[in-house]
């Protein structure tokens, strides 16, 4: 029953998003996260590991899709501005230099992304703007939501 409900939920959400913002990648967090709007540079700091806490007690947990996912390619291209190899090298170095407590967690599907964002306080992930799961909050970048003009993750 739970699984069916979840499936229906994602299906409805996908349809809604596809209509609203086809092609954009949305940054999603839990609804209770105390942040709604981030500048692009803040987004970069979040995903490059330079900012590791939302607040003093809330740790940032990065969730990123496994290679070959479109969202991953978009993020690497627009936010990291790195290739796959550079991305891997970047995080290995950062962890070994102890500049980051941990690297991004790899997720393999939007379902898994939604499940983990719900489960982990402070988790932040990328999903296709047309497939944003219900219950998650989409963060604005520079005051813009996916689908709006000037949204950077397009």
């Amino acid at each position: 029953m739970g699984r069916l409900t979840l499936f229906l939920f994602f299906a409805v959400a996908a349809l809604t998003s596809a209509v609203a913002s086809a092609g954009d990648v949305a940054i999603v967090v839990r609804a209770d996260l105390p942040a709604d709007n981030l500048s692009f540079s803040e987004v970069r700091k979040l995903f490059t590991g330079d900012r590791q806490f939302w607040s003093s007690n809330l740790r940032v947990t990065l969730l990123i899709r496994a290679p070959a996912a479109r969202e991953r390619d978009m993020v690497l291209k627009t936010i990291y501005q790195m290739t796959e190899a550079q991305f891997r090298q970047y995080w290995i170095s950062k962890v070994f230099r102890q500049e980051a407590a941990s690297g991004p967690k790899i997720v393999y599907s939007n379902e898994m992304t939604a499940e983990l964002v719900f489960a982990i306080p402070g988790a932040v992930a990328f999903v296709d703007a047309s497939q944003v799961p219900k219950g998650l909050k989409v963060l604005k970048i520079d005051g813009r939501l996916p689908g709006e003009k000037g949204y950077p993750l397009h």
Binding site: V95, F96, G103, K105, L116, A119, I120
Partner: protein, 551 residues
């Protein structure tokens, strides 16, 4: 206290100091070992914490990068679950760190142990979380990631950024404190050791100085005492009040010195007595010898006097006849010359010869009579009466008389007379008639001697007669010295014997000095002696008592 006991106590005191130094050494060693052990535990804990930190970091990196690496390995697909062997290795690594933490807990002390125990509990939760992550990884990836993000990462952050840095700081402080304590203890023990050694040295030096000073002082006093006694100071005593071997030795020295002093006093007394006796014997012997000499001389003179008296008595009568008849013959020849007148010149010449012969017979008869008279006077032994006279005047008068007598016999005779009369002599009691004969005889002999030498030597010789008197207090000394040929030793023994003369026959009777000796020695109780150096001088020395000694 005896020296033996003093030395024994000193040795025991130094032995006690040595033991104290040894005890301080062992105590210092124990203190240092304790601090070294504390330092070792702190360093071990520090090393262990570093190792734990490294291992936890490695595990944290492993789980942090595991999903990414595994996904890459799977070509972007979801990784498979870990195989049991890999899981076992991972769990073993986590358990190894747990063991290290247990070891660290054993090394920790006090408040640090509480912290380690809290750390161990946190790590235990972290280990469980990691194990849960790893066991779900690839199986239930969402659960694994959730476990990692929600539990493991906060715990690992707490462990890596709170517990381990704090433990490292604590252990560093502990190492620093242990190190500081080590150096502090080392300095303290070094100071105590040096202090005890210095005090021991001072004490040992003081003991050694005290004992050696006591011994050397005592021995020095004994040495000084022995040297004083050795140099003859037997009154020297060694003031050493010590009641020990040195004191006994000093008492022995003092007793020895006292005994030696008493023995020397006895010897000195005996020696003085012997010396006095010897002097007395020597005086007695000299007196005996003089007496013997006088007795011999007196005996000779007595027998000679008796003989002379007999001879004189026998010869005097014929001589009286010869003299008397010679005078009568001269008178008769005078009468006959008057009676004959100028009748015959030849008879007159004959009568002159007879008269001349008779005169010679008378002259020689008188001379013989004079000799006989002298012999009689000699045999009688005394003549004249004692008077108080001026010795210097009498001597000067008769020396001059003798000189003029010589000049009367030979006008060419000349002599330098050096006179030195001591005016302090004063009047003396003597028989001037006899004493004048003495001066006349001695001066005549002196003039004769220098005259004979002058005849031989000629102008090269200057005859000199020295006449001196000297006041000797109770006696007066007369010295008559000529620079003639002197008197040899063998002759000097005989000059005072009667009828001994060195003059040619007819010029001396050999009685002058013999009579002089009798007059000086027997009549005046004086002395007459001769000093002479043959070829240079002869000196007659006459000593006359001023008054005492006359009978």
């Amino acid at each position: 206290m005896t020296i033996r006991r003093r030395l024994t106590l000193s040795f025991l005191a130094i032995l006690a100091l040595f033991s104290l130094n040894l005890a301080i050494y062992f105590w210092s060693n124990l203190r240092r070992q304790a601090t070294v052990e504390s330092l070792r535990r702190a360093i071990s804990a520090q090393v262990l914490i570093a190792s734990i930190n490294q291992n936890v970091n490695d595990l944290n990196k492993q789980v942090s990068l595991l999903s990414q690496v595994a996904t890459d390995a799977a070509g972007g697909a979801a990784p498979a679950g870990a195989d049991p062997a890999e899981l076992s290795v991972f769990n073993g690594q986590i358990d190894a760190v747990s063991s290290q933490i247990s070891e660290l807990s054993e090394l920790a002390e006090g408040a640090a142990r509480t912290k380690v125990e809290s750390f161990a509990k946190t790590y235990l939760d972290l280990g469980r979380s990691w194990k849960l992550f790893y066991s779900n990884f690839g199986v239930n990836q969402s659960k694994a990631i959730t476990e990692l993000a929600i539990r493991a990462e906060p715990l690992s952050g707490k462990v890596l950024r709170e517990f381990l840095p704090e433990l490292q700081r604590d252990e560093k402080s502990r190492v620093d404190a242990a190190s500081a304590n080590f150096y502090k203890v080392a300095r303290l023990t070094d100071r105590i050791t040096i202090l005890i050694f210095a005090l021991s040295s001072v004490f040992a030096t003081a003991v050694a100085y005290s004992v050696s000073r006591y011994l050397t002082r005592g021995l020095r006093r004994l040495k000084e005492g022995a040297e004083a006694i050795g140099s003859g100071n037997l009154d020297q005593r060694i003031a050493l009040p010590a009641k020990d071997e040195l004191g006994d030795l000093a008492q022995g020295f003092d007793a020895m010195a006292a005994n030696l002093s008493a023995a020397r006093a006895e010897l000195t007394l005996a020696h003085e007595q012997e010396k006095r006796k010897s002097e007395e014997l020597s005086l007695t012997l000299d007196q005996l010898r003089r007496t013997q000499d006088q007795l011999i001389v007196q005996q000779k003179l007595a027998s000679l006097g008796a003989l002379t008296a007999g001879i004189a008595h026998e010869i005097k009568n014929p001589l009286n006849f010869v003299t008397n008849f010679a005078e009568i013959l001269v008178d008769m020849l005078g009468d006959l010359r008057q009676d004959l007148g100028r009748a015959a010149e030849g008879v007159s010449d004959l009568l002159a010869d007879l008269e001349q012969n008779a005169a010679k017979i008378r002259e020689h008869g008188k001379r013989a009579d004079s000799i006989v008279l002298g012999m009689l006077m000699h045999s009688r032994g005394q003549s004249g009466a004692r008077q108080t006279i001026n010795l210097n005047l009498l001597l000067a008068e008769y020396v001059k008389l003798a000189y003029h007598g010589m000049r009367a016999q030979d006008a060419s005779f000349n002599v330098t007379i050096e006179e030195d009369y001591d005016s302090s002599i004063g009047p003396i009691s003597a028989i001037p008639h006899d004493l004048s004969r003495v001066f006349l005889n001695v001066a005549n002999n002196a003039f004769y001697a220098v005259h004979q030498k002058k005849l031989r030597a000629g102008d090269a010789f200057s005859p000199t007669l020295s006449v001196r008197t000297r006041n000797l207090g109770r006696s007066a000394e007369i010295r008559i010295r000529d620079n003639g040929d002197g008197i040899p030793e063998e002759i000097r023994q005989k000059v005072f014997e009667a009828f001994f003369t060195t003059k040619p026959a007819g010029q001396g009777t050999g009685l002058g000095l013999s009579m002089s000796y009798d007059i000086v020695v027997q009549e005046h109780r004086g002395e007459i002696r001769i000093e002479s150096e043959p070829g240079r001088f002869a000196e007659f020395i006459i000593t006359l008592p001023k008054g005492a000694g006359f009978e």
